[in-house]
Amino acid sequence: MKIEEIYNEYKHQVYTLSLHYTQNKEDAEEITQDVFVAVYQSLDSFRAESKLSTWIYKIAVHKCLDFLKHKRAAKRNVFLLNLFRLGSNTPLYEKTNFYHPGIELEDKESFEKIFTAINLLPDKQKTLIILYRLEHKTQAEVAEIMNLSIKAVESLYQRAKNNLKIILSQKKDSSNKID
């Protein structure tokens, strides 16, 4: 199978998945490129033990988490640099705006809150919510993509839900205090 065919079949899924993770246009584009380059480079090692889509999702999830890890590290470095640039008012790192074209404009505000809460979850829980609730994968598919058993996926999902509940209620409390 040629990379162009694979790209045409999975480009929207990979791009959407990247957007779920980053909520940023440029980052999602960069991750999508990285994913298909990685797919091309390791196409020979792909054994048809799992579905091609599962394999591509595995690579995509890995690339997204890797990207976010590097971005967090870069943010930390910039924070330290900003500490030493006391005279300057312009920050080296500027917070990016929430971007997700898959969300209707009238829902943007409420979804921004939900995505902010999802972003605060640990990587595994975040991946699970994205794959299960946003990508509508079955528990078996999620288990295969994340290299977990179905039981582990179930308990991870409960933990993710509990954590989300805590994060969202904390946010609600703090916004009530501000009001």
Partner: protein, 92 residues
């Protein structure tokens, strides 16, 4: 927050639609894939290169040392008012 609330919130996520990837991405992916790879240098060549550089450095040190040593000798000869060469056995 109740359990029902979190389920309602998570059910809202069903409204998130799939997004279409920009058209130009394929060109960029192809550019990255088919770009000329940099010529690979084998480990043997690296070892040869390193050895050559080390030899050059050693040669350089030796030449410098010889030059300085010679200069030192000439200074000594000059300070003792000696002839720099011995022409005892040379025919005049």
């Amino acid at each position: 927050m109740e359990q029902q609330d979190i389920d309602t919130i998570l059910n809202q996520l069903n409204r998130v639609k799939q997004v279409e990837a920009p058209e130009f991405l394929l060109t960029r992916v192809q550019q990255r894939i088919y770009a000329q790879p940099l010529p690979q240098v084998s480990n043997t060549m690296r070892i040869y290169g390193l050895t050559a550089i080390l030899l050059l450095i050693c040669l350089n040190c030796w030449v410098t040392y010889q030059f300085l040593n010679h200069k030192k000798q000439m200074n000594l000869v000059e300070s003792m008012n000696l002839a720099p060469t011995s022409n005892l056995y040379e025919n005049e």
